[in-house]
């Protein structure tokens, strides 16, 4: 039976190194299957996260041959098998153990975002054409691959000033909800640091749900921030009125 060689990161906060495993290949096999095989036969304490194994929960994110992927959707027959397949944890988050990282920062950022607030006395009618664009954002499975690959977080580690693509998508879903009444532009600018994004579209490329993060979420939000805070006419109006905000 054909075999694949895996080099899987084993370690914790204090460091670690790759360990080598041999795994028999079955038709249609994905990387997560191989990790399960390793757990069952060679390393029962290999730490990974997974739940649905069908690309719906966003738990099994890791870097396969250096590329951020959901391991449940990474087919072995799409990888070169003449050399070892490397599997490492997401780089932008601290390692807990092996392939499991500490993603709790994301949950803290999420808490900063003001929730859905329907207009008072609103009639609960919405039309498909108005919800279509928001439904795109709500497909997000919170795999955090976009956060992992974003330069602002990966290279510059601006976690205090910057919310990251996942949360721009979440804010976009709220801002474009047909019945929402709240404005989140100040938070986008001041707390989530949307200005730091320089639109390289890396997040869009890795999104397993194929959400057009940059074009449909980030750019329209940037425009809202610009309209609200940097529009010269509005700026003058605010100045004259004494800027009570």
């Amino acid at each position: 039976m054909a075999e694949a060689i895996f080099e899987v990161f084993r370690g914790n906060r204090d460091g670690g190194k790759p360990a080598t495993y041999r795994v028999p290949i079955a038709p249609g096999m994905v990387v997560l299957d191989a990790l399960h095989y390793i757990q069952a036969h060679q390393a029962p304490d290999l730490a990974i996260r997974w739940n649905c194994k069908a690309g719906k929960c966003g738990s099994c994110s890791a870097e396969v041959n250096g590329r951020p992927r959901l391991t449940c959707k990474t087919r072995m027959d799409a990888l070169p098998l003449d050399k070892a397949i490397t599997v490492t944890p997401m780089k932008s988050f601290p390692v807990i153990k092996d392939l499991v990282t500490d993603v709790s920062w994301n949950y803290r950022v999420n808490k900063k975002i003001p929730p859905f607030e329907p207009r008072p006395g609103v009639e609960w009618k919405m039309y498909q054409r108005d919800v279509d664009r928001v439904q795109e954002f709500r497909k997000c499975i919170e795999c955090f691959l976009c956060q992992n690959v974003c330069h602002v977080l990966r290279e510059h580690e601006e976690k205090e000033q910057f919310g990251g693509p996942r949360f721009f998508v979440r804010v976009a879903a709220l801002e474009m909800h047909p019945l929402d009444s709240k404005s989140r532009t100040r938070i986008l600018k001041d707390e989530l640091g949307i200005g730091l994004c320089n639109i390289t579209k890396c997040c869009t490329e890795v999104c397993p749900e194929e959400i057009h993060i940059t074009d449909n979420a980030i750019i329209p939000l940037k425009e809202r921030v610009v309209d609200e805070f940097y529009d010269p006419v509005l700026f003058l109006v605010r100045k004259i009125r004494g800027a009570n905000k």
Partner: protein
């Protein structure tokens, strides 16, 4: 030895953060209770995200003739009248309000032309009734509840696993568990506990369920003295993926059939004409699963041992819009373009109708202060669940459990837990580390899955079930010698060693109940007793613990009031 642990106090502790757990948390918070939610995974990853087709609620947005009475009748008939009628009534009456509430918390369902929530057809439902978002309704629901919970300030203990419930005399007092990350112990003192841990599918080899579905909640409740009911009724969903091997069992939503998908065997015959000519592909799940299984067994299966499910006669754009995740799932995992070619599908272990026996109004078990909701609880679905009735179940009874748990907590001053229980729970957790030559938990799990798949599957008989009980005894002995490698830090092998105990408890309960029920009803099919038996139609099997032994008794199915009886029997 004195175990080291941290302690947290809550009025209401909720175990499980899927739809039922989160809705229970919101219900209890609304009563002013101090609420904690414990979950095995990260928040938002619970099995509810896998729910695809929709939430059943008689809103009558698409078919104006629909009302709670029809939904009630469909649910009772689907459950072969073994349901708790009061739960079925509450469920049908309250589901529409629970869906509207989700919308008011920000959920965005697909819409009708008039701007209302769109509803689709599903198996066993007389009218188009399932409120949905494409084929990712569960994700929409869990995200909405999660956001609402964050807004209201719930305390969530993520990647934390409960291994034992603690008692204060006869009533519930708390729970013992451990943090996955460091392996440290934690004790929760709680006046009320809500079990919302979902199902048991991981005891079978071919299943649509995630690693979390190991029956913990049922085993915890059983261990604490609560009763389990209807454990023989395990739903095999008719359509799971069958090829390639790694994806075997992954769910193919019933919405494919709801949107017009057709089942065929390898000869091209639309075989549902033979089994249920009236409802065809939209027959109930028990019937469709048995039909596919029978076609395969009689030699008319596909290349990989399934049936063909075809939606390619619908417009490509329509399929991609209404079934986007199915489109991606097949394209990426099986190299099949479902807009052009048929899928190969076969039955997969999917859902547990049975579970913790609870009161219909309050969701309280026989242990004071212990509540259960969702898949972990029994009663609503009887012998077979209709598609779409699960998500509505989570909302309706999650809320009721949360409210009742908060009310119960108000009647309790303080709880005290003797340290003996805690020491014992800690010892139980640590003992696998001490066995130097202990058996690999993964090997035991594989053997359990094979035994349950082969001997306690879709079609059952006395011989197989008797053998299954013998196998389970052997497996129990092996679990007594399970060993764990490595440290306590994020150790899946150690976790599985705990999960095995729960899986064995629920597997035994399923097998004993299945052996006792000498008839075929709903999801329980006995080859040696192929027909319905009227006497069994008035009884539920109830499992309880006496010392270390599992006991089984029959309890009469509660009798419906006359006006509801008429609803169920009329116009056959």
């Amino acid at each position: 030895m004195t175990a080291e642990y941290e302690t947290h106090d809550h009025d209401v502790l909720i175990i499980g953060a899927g739809g039922a757990g989160l809705r229970a948390a919101l219900g209890a918070l609304a009563q002013g209770a101090k609420v904690g939610v414990v979950c095995k995974s990260l928040l938002g990853k619970a099995h509810t995200v896998m729910a695809e087709g929709g939430i059943a609620a008689a809103m009558a947005n698409v078919d104006s003739a629909d009302d709670w009475r029809t939904h009630f009748r469909d649910t009772m008939r689907g459950g072969k009248l073994l349901n708790n009628w009061r739960m079925a009534q509450i469920h049908a009456q309250e589901a529409p309000e629970r869906v509207r509430e989700l919308e008011q918390w920000g959920a965005l369902f697909d819409r009708t032309q008039d701007g209302e929530i769109l509803q689709r057809a599903f198996g066993g439902h007389t009218f188009r009734r399932l409120c949905h978002v494409g084929d990712r309704t569960g994700l929409e629901m869990i995200r909405t509840l999660q956001d609402r919970g964050v807004q209201m300030g719930i305390d969530v203990y993520m990647e934390c696993t409960i291994s034992r419930l603690l008692k204060d005399g006869d009533r519930i007092g708390g729970a013992f568990g451990y943090w996955r990350e460091q392996g440290r112990f934690v004790v929760f003192r709680a006046k009320s506990i809500v079990i919302a841990t979902g199902g048991i599918g991981k005891a079978w080899k071919i299943t649509s369920n995630s690693w979390e579905y190991t029956g913990d909640g049922m085993a915890l409740a059983y261990g604490a003295g609560a009763e389990l009911k209807d454990m023989e009724f395990v739903q095999f969903h008719p359509t799971g993926m069958v090829w390639p091997p790694g994806v075997q069992g992954i769910l193919v939503t019933e919405a494919v059939r709801g949107e017009g998908g057709i089942l065929r065997n390898k000869l091209g015959e639309r075989f549902m004409e033979k089994y249920d000519p009236k409802r065809m592909e939209l027959s109930t799940r028990d019937v469709v699963a048995r039909s596919i299984y029978t076609e395969v067994r009689e030699g008319r299966g596909t290349e990989h041992g399934g049936a063909y499910l075809d939606i390619s006669h619908k417009a490509s754009d329509y399929v991609k819009k209404k079934l986007p995740s199915m489109y991606h799932q097949f394209r990426e995992l099986a190299d099949v373009d479902i807009t052009k070619e048929p899928m190969e599908v076969g039955p997969t272990c999917h859902y547990m109708m049975g579970g913790i026996r609870v009161d219909a109004e309050t969701a309280q078990s026989s242990v004071p202060g212990l509540f259960a909701a969702g898949e972990a609880a029994a009663g609503l679905h009887g012998a077979n669940r209709l598609g779409g009735n699960s998500l509505s179940d989570l909302l309706v009874f999650g809320r009721r459990a949360g409210l009742a748990a908060a009310e119960h907590a108000k009647t309790i001053d303080t709880t005290s837990i003797d340290s003996g229980q805690i020491e014992e729970a800690a010892r139980d957790m640590l003992v696998p580390f001490e066995r130097k030559d202990g058996e690999n938990p993964y090997t035991i799990h594989r053997d359990l899955q094979e035994a349950m798949q082969d001997l306690v599957g879709i079609f059952r008989n006395q011989e197989d079930l008797t053998r299954a009980l013998e196998e389970l005894e052997k497996l129990k002995a092996r679990v007594g010698h399970v060993g764990v490698e490595g440290s306590r830090m994020f150790n899946p092998g150690w976790h599985l060693a705990q999960d095995l105990k729960s899986m064995l408890t629920v597997s035994e309960a399923v097998t004993r109940s299945a052996l006792t029920r000498q008839e075929s009803r709903g999801a329980h099919s006995r080859i040696d007793y192929p027909g319905l038996d009227a006497t069994w139609g008035t009884k539920n099997n109830v499992i309880a613990r006496e010392g270390s032994a599992m006991t089984l008794r029959q309890s009469p199915v509660p009798e419906m009031p006359n006006e509801l009886k008429q609803l169920v029997v009329e116009e056959k």
